[in-house]
């Protein structure tokens, strides 16, 4: 873990700090996505019409924040690339206890007051106070797992870590620091609202850091629109709704930290093993899609000789994979049983990594490996089509994505 009291004076220290920032952004994003995917959609899930609309708005807001975290991750990779570092998409599996790995508990938990409270902590500005903590409910397993604050936070991770990173950028000699190729960065809109900024010099680096902090916590005089304020507002709305209807539960009965493996080397803490075979198969497929998207991003952010159009297809395809496979499969999982006992709850997207991400150093091999992964996803989704029609659609779309990539590679060969 980075000791943020120390100033960052060397390129290596700056790279380590940026690696940590990348893991945080990805970790936050995944936890936000997980919570969003657990939210109820249908009136037959014991919600009223008004609650259905409220939940939809919350889900939309969380997904919007998650997309911005994706952009933050992209910009951190640009910061790394600018100073000669490699893009960083590694992260440990869930769960992680605060102080073991990061200053926060990293848990995959369904949408609830407790979960929102953790999200508010992630994004908390230094000069703000936490709201009143939620009253632990009998259903909440979060309180059983980890203790909640009143332990003092040693540092405000987003702004303090990024300000240390800023210090490194501002104090290491500029002409020695920025050695990365300009073409080794992503620069486009990840969606209509989210643009990733390029980093060529100290000024750009400061702009990126300002943007990330501003997105996260806002400015003291203007918190509106920040992630912190979004979660705070949501927390208050949820608490109000629960005062009106104490048994209101906006999320499906998804377990904490669902897993397809009982043990992972990078966490000594238990998750919830997905005992139901069908659910576990879908969860493994989910993990495969997730790993494939990370490899695509790794390939996009590491300049290995890919042409502009090849980088373009990687960017497009990773986005398509996230929208058309990862999100639908995550939603399907939160409606599937964790075991054969209905009272045990539902499964969820595990976001597991079974090993270190390995991007081949040879460009042609990267494409071969990517093609093999897409073949596996297509086959996996086809096999599941009988159980849920959405898989047939996903399979069709992944095939089309694969075809688009192959078409691009063929055009490059012809040139």
């Amino acid at each position: 873990m980075i000791d943020v009291q120390k100033t960052l004076d060397t390129r290596t220290e700056l790279i380590y700090a940026l690696n940590e920032a990348a893991e945080l952004e990805q970790g936050f994003m995944i936890q936000y996505l997980f919570a969003a995917m657990t939210m109820k959609k249908r009136l037959d899930e014991r919600i009223t019409g008004k609650q259905q609309e409220l939940i939809r708005q919350w889900e939309s807001q969380i997904l919007s924040v998650a997309r911005e975290e994706m952009a933050h991750l992209g910009m951190v990779c640009n910061l790394l690339s600018a100073i000669g570092g490699a893009p960083h998409f590694e992260r440990p599996n869930f769960p992680q206890k605060a102080a073991d790995y990061y200053p926060f508990d990293f848990i995959l938990s369904p949408f609830s007051q407790e979960t929102l409270y953790r999200f508010i902590r992630f994004e908390l500005p230094k000069d703000e106070q936490l709201p009143d903590p939620p009253v632990p409910s009998s259903k909440s397993k979060l309180f059983e797992l980890f203790a909640f604050a009143p332990d003092p936070i040693e540092y405000d991770y987003l702004s303090e870590l990024y300000n240390q990173i800023r210090h490194g950028f501002n104090h290491i000699k500029e002409d020695e620091l920025f050695i990365g190729p300009r073409s080794g960065q992503d620069y486009e809109y990840w969606s209509k609202r989210v643009q990733i900024l390029n980093v060529k010099n100290r000024e750009n680096a400061n702009t990126v850091i300002d943007l990330i902090i501003d997105n996260g916590e806002g400015a003291p005089e203007k918190r509106d629109g920040s992630h912190y304020n979004t979660f705070l507002k949501m927390y208050k709305e949820l608490r109000l709704e629960m005062q009106i209807q104490p048994d209101f539960d906006p999320s499906r009965p998804v377990v904490l930290n669902p897993r397809t493996r009982i043990h992972h080397r990078d966490t000594h803490l238990d998750g919830t093993f997905i005992k139901n075979e069908s659910s576990r198969k879908v969860a493994e497929l989910f993990n495969l899609c997730y790993e494939t998207s990370l490899l695509m991003l790794s390939q996009l952010y590491s300049l290995g000789g890919e042409s502009l159009s090849e980088r373009g297809i990687l960017r497009k395809s990773s986005r398509h994979l996230m929208t058309m496979a990862i999100r639908p499969i995550a939603e399907i999982l939160t409606d599937m049983p964790i075991s054969d006992k209905e009272t045990d709850g539902n499964a969820g997207p595990p976001f597991e990594l079974y090993g270190k991400l390995q991007l081949s150093t040879q460009e042609p091999n990267r494409w071969i490996i990517l093609d093999e992964l897409l073949d596996s996803i297509i086959l996996g989704t086809k096999e599941l089509s009988d159980s849920n029609q959405r898989f047939a659609f996903i399979s069709e779309n992944i095939s089309l994505i694969q075809n688009n990539i192959n078409e691009t590679l063929s055009s490059e060969e012809r040139l």
């Binding site: 959609k41 249908r42 009136l43 009223t48 019409g49 008004k50 259905q52 609309e53 939809r56 889900e59 939309s60 997904l63 919007s64 997309r67 969606s191 209509k192 497009k316 398509h320 929208t323 058309m324 999100r327 639908p328 959405r390 659609f393 069709e396 779309n397 095939s399 089309l400 994505i401 075809n403 688009n404 078409e407």
Partner: protein, 308 residues
């Protein structure tokens, strides 16, 4: 001889919008949402009110024949006038979040199978027989699919206003919102209230903004398609004018031209306007007409009691 049919009207398509995935059932992050009292989205393009989900105070769904020309002469009393126009086989706008098209506004309508019917008149034609969506089955052949694509988004406020009769959608929305707010006072149950509130919030939010979704009303997507698939062409004998032309070389029916635009999108009703023309090359079959005339003449000569 050419039979030219003009059609127009409102269609509905209940579909999720970006950044939601194509098969998102109820809409989350995009602007389109299924209301609490509505079923999941099905993305089907509906030109007729059957199975459409009509929201209150919105344009009624229905596309009908407006004008008929035969060889350039308008036929005021043609039996097909007012006929229902429909797309069969549950077509959808296929863009798949831009996996199969280059950008918004190029979505193909797939499959394409037009039908026009009124009383005993029935005209149908498919774009192509055996038209398969690009997949590994057909070697990802996009040649046919690309012919069903639109040509991008065009901003044509004048044409859209004149055709729809709506010159300012924001005004229409203001009035609609007033009606819905009144209905809220007498909503029958909690679900209906939630649905009405959702619409009121949507309209309020958009009316407040200069960039509100009412601006999309002026956009059109243009389609120009040659229909070459199997046909049904049924006309009662008394209206007989000929039959669809057959190309003597190929012995296949001549291509029919189908040109239309979809636009005038109303993001509250999830409906848009379609206007277009179906051109059918016809051959006047002189032998058949002569035989028909002979038959009619014979019937006129028969005593009344035997005819009835």
């Amino acid at each position: 001889m050419t039979l030219l049919i003009k059609f127009a009207g409102w269609f509905q398509c209940r579909l999720p919008t970006a950044p939601d995935p194509t098969d998102e059932p109820r809409g989350v992050s995009g602007y389109a949402h299924a209301l609490p009292n509505e079923p999941d989205f099905d993305r089907i393009i509906r030109l007729q009110p059957k199975l459409a989900i009509q929201r209150s105070y919105c344009q009624p769904i229905g596309v009908y024949v407006k004008t008929i020309w035969i060889d350039g002469t308008i036929k005021e009393d043609h039996p097909l006038l007012g006929g229902e126009v429909d797309f069969l086989e549950n077509p959808k706008f296929e863009g798949r979040n831009n996996i199969v098209v280059e950008d918004d506004g190029y979505e193909a309508i797939f499959p394409l199978h037009i039908q026009i019917k009124k009383n005993n008149c029935l005209i149908r034609r498919k774009f192509k027989d055996n038209n398969i969506f690009p997949s590994s089955e057909n070697g990802y052949n996009f040649k046919d699919f690309n012919q069903l694509k639109a040509s991008g988004l065009h901003i044509n406020p004048g044409i859209v206003s004149e055709s729809t009769g709506i010159f300012d959608l924001s005004n229409v929305w203001k009035k609609r919102k007033e009606h819905i707010e009144k209905d809220l006072q007498t909503a029958a149950n909690e679900i209906e209230m939630a649905a009405l509130n959702s619409r009121i919030n949507f309209l309020t939010r958009n009316l407040k903004s200069k960039n509100g979704l009412y601006n999309r009303f002026a956009y059109r997507m243009l389609y120009m398609i040659s229909l070459t698939g199997s046909i049904i062409f049924q006309y009662p004998e008394k209206y007989f004018i000929g039959k669809p032309s057959i190309n003597p070389e190929s012995n296949e029916y001549e291509d029919w031209s189908l040109e239309f635009w979809c636009g005038g999108w109303d993001a509250d009703s999830l409906s848009g306007y379609i206007e277009g023309y179906l051109g059918i090359p016809m051959s006047s079959d002189n032998e058949t007409i002569l035989k028909l005339n002979r038959d009619i003449n014979e019937k006129i000569k028969e005593p009344l009691k035997r005819r009835f």
